[in-house]
Amino acid sequence: MKKGIRTLQKGLVRRLLTYVAPYKGYVAGTIACSILYVASVLVGPVLYGEAIDAMPGAGRVDFSAVYLMIGCFAGSVLVSFASQKLLNNCVNSLCYKLVRDLRRDAFESLTAAGVRYIDTHAQGDVMTRIVNDVDVITDGLLQGAAQLFTGVMTILATLAVMFAVNYIIALVVVVLTPLSLFVAAVITKKTFRLFQKQVRIQGELVSHVKEMLGGQKTVILFNEEKYSEKKFEGINARLNEIGWRAQYSSALTNPGTRFVNAVITAFVGVLGCIFCILSDGGLLTLGTLTLGGFTVGKLSVFLSYANQYTKPFNEISNVVTQLQNAFASAARVFEVIDEPGERTEGTAHLSSCRGDIAVEGVRFSYSADKPLIEDLDLSVKAGSKVAIVGPTGCGKTTLINLLMRFYDPLAGRITVDGTDIRDIPLDEYRKLFGMVLQESFLSGETVAYNIAYGAENASRAQIEEAAKAAYCDFFIRNLEKGYDTVLTGNVNISQGEKQLLCIARVMLVDPPMLILDEATSNIDTMTEMRIQKAFRKIMRGRTSFIVAHRLSTILDADLILVMKDGAVVEQGTHASLMEAKGFYYRLYNAQFAGAEQGA
């Protein structure tokens, strides 16, 4: 199991490295700068320690040595200043460019993916992958890796210098270090568990507030404020209990390390001072051991090192969790990037399209265990108007999905003018259709951009003409900036007006075939009539499929497809279907009988 994770992580690292590869320069810069940085930061205390030793007391100051050492120290500060700035620049540029590249690839894959992918994945989740997870990768992996690198180097170099100066004190430091690690590990583990609990309760609290505010009207109407408050206070009390413990536990990290530092400082200080006392003329004799003499300057080196040395340990323990998160996120992002795209190529090209459509023995289902469409046959003559009717969930949308090639049939084929649609290049094929769905989708750009969405090179005059034809010119002109109004959440256009804009968008493209979805409700009467008129206008002379909810639409259709449970159960004209007294007859009576009686 663990091995499996290892190899998985190895694979992820290898893939991430391919993303880093184009930025080798930055990587080299990062490594070079961090080596320089660690070296210059560590040599600093040694240099000023020498300077301190060169002034042992009144009348005994060796000025030339002092100046030399201070000069060198200043030089080392300059080097570490420059190398740290460069290091930061390299890491930042590398991170941000990687963020861009990963996002770009993930987005590209998203735009290439089949509609099935989007239908079967929670949108919020895909969004999180592209937006947040990418950040987590670079935060954890790159910053983490950089920190790990400098951290480990600092520790090693510090140890090396300490051992070189005096290995007994160095040993004491090394023995005391695990104390710091142990304290950090215990605290982190406990904190993590508590925070997890806290997140859960917080989620409960938020969903309660959401639920109550969402149903505030109901809460007020049924006088249930007290109930909702009591429940809130209950959750809040639990949050308080876990919350303070989580906070307390995480707040122990700093005092904990400060304490370990204090212990190390005390030990180093005492030992160092004793060694200073015992040193005699550049030599330190401890029983049979003889070491180099210990001085106050060297003590200052140890004191500042002991401080610097424990810091990376804390950072490294953070880095480990960061790395784990980064790997998890990387796996999620690569899942998006690896999503196979739709098959877009094809060899057949229709120079002109009449619009004869035939569906031959098509079988389709979204999942293998739930058969939906079985052996569907249809034949639609060019220029005819096909109305699709049936109760909710009967498969009207599925038919559109198949016609637009959002999904491919499992068996059978669909042809346009006798050509199998799978042989036509995907984009070329889809451009044959104009589609207006009930859920009007518009982009957060200007009105003009949206109308010209399918016709890139349309002039402003053409755009306005299309808008007029689709009866939206008048309300567009009433918008604050007319055609240049950006359609964000606070622009006030209704659902019906949105649908009119979608019709204008299709009119500008002028496609040979149409797929229309009538709105069921929520549109005011005036707009509704305009949409009907626009629909009628646009359908003239085109093969059109229309998901119908209005009698007027159904009555003048050339062909009505009556769908039920995924199958086309009846087809014909209104008159022939009424005569047959089948499912359509019953449906018609159930849906419209009441209204008809009155009329």
Binding site: N88, Q123, M127, G269, D524
Partner: protein
Amino acid sequence: MIGRYLPYLKQYRASCILGALSKWFEALLELLVPLVMARIIDVGVARGDVSYVLWGGALMLAMGAVGFGCAVFCQRSASIASQGFGTNVRNALFRHIDTLSYREIDKVGAASLVTRVANDVTQMQSAVAMTIRLVVRSPFIAAGAVILCLILDWRTGLIVTAASVLVALVLWAIMKKSVPYYTKNQEKLDRLTRITNENLEGARVVRAFANREKERARFDAAAEDMLGNSIVIGRISAWLNPLTFAVINFGVALILLLSGFRVERGSLSSGDIIAVINYMTQILNAMIVISNLVSLFTKANASMHRVSEVFDMRSSVADGAGCAPDFSAPAVQMKGVGFSYAGTDQYSLRNIDLTIGRGQTVGIIGGTGSGKSTLVSLMPRLYDASEGEVIVFGHDVREYGLAALRSLFGVVPQNASLFSGTVRSNLFWGNDKGTDEDFDEALKVACAYDFVYEKGGLDEKVSEGGKNFSGGQRQRLTIARAVAAKAPVLILDDSCSALDFATDAKVRANIAALEGTTTVIISQRASSLMHADKIFVLEDGGIAGSGTHAELYAQCPLYREICDSQTRAEA
């Protein structure tokens, strides 16, 4: 501003004061450590006195241990006090939100209120924690270290002071310079998010227009734009550590440079130099903490304003003095009623005059935005009319106590909102004294009895928003809830839209059979209202016609148009 939140902290006064004091004591000990070290070097080493050194070491260990104890005590007090503070504020805030009318909630928006209760209060809470933990400590250490250096040796102390001021300036300048870019970054990230969202929601449209490449180019441009801004931020913040490091260490170099003469003359010892260098590091660390605190407090301040905004809102619907309904009077009367929503001067309703007799079934029809839902929400005072009078059972609605008024109505809201719990707990909302028999009866009226008992009866679980029931089932359950209330007036706000014709008709017939109940039905379907005693046709906030179906069809062009658009025009 801050004053109004102090009461929420009152019960933790002891924790706050003792916590801050103990943290201060720890800081004091920490400041003394370098001095002890200096003494050990200058006295112990100079005299070769090993026992002095050992005692010094023991003292340092003891100071560390006491300091640790103090810090632990402080962290604990701070956690208890701040979390308790947050809990109190959250409770008060939620209670306050519950007193607000729908009008105020609309103004802020439900999503924003959730954020305020959850995130903003947490932000304030951590500001309290940090105040106890760090506000006393960090400035004390920074100032204390500077002062101790000045006492040790005023000349070196001056250099330390200058270096500290410089570090503060660097921190301030970098923060000031980068903040606008951070704001910009958020905007650019929002744009990326929006484009991604559009490509998820509009996946079919993008594909239908074969606009893959166009969308990619759009995303790439946005990503590139963001990259540019991020790199600027990176460049600016990359100065922070190198600059502060350089300032402090050049300070050290300068001190060493001047120390040479003074040691030569005997006015400075090497122990003192080491102590000063130690203090420099402490100052730098404290300053960085302070700069983090500043940004934390800026955020907390913004949060506090957002929370205060909610606390400052007063419900526009005030409780009435209380009166008893007169059940012989008409159920609802409106006289010259006008209404406009918060923040707009556009009237959603104007000049409404209507009477709904006791026991009548009344229909209201009209297009989206014609004011149907607004009209009925004036009856149980979800909103107050901007002008005119709303009279329920003989009294102006403002004379009733709110709870008493609302218990006169059983309302089925437009979006079928159920609450997590069980079927029974949801029905209890309607009638908290209801028995299982009452509930069964209500379920039968709403045609919900069969599917509820097929599933698991009254104890069947209801998940958040009732998502484990279909749309039609949810509507029938909300109808049952309102019926269970046995209120004199039943209001159905377009609440049969997900029912098929037969069930819709059955439910309406069952409701009509409820004795003595006045029923108001809002619908877009003419067929649902045809049999009402009276129908009001709304258009643009005004009444365009009223009467029975036959009268309206003959006299009201709009009503005829609505009927015709839903039926066969040539019938």
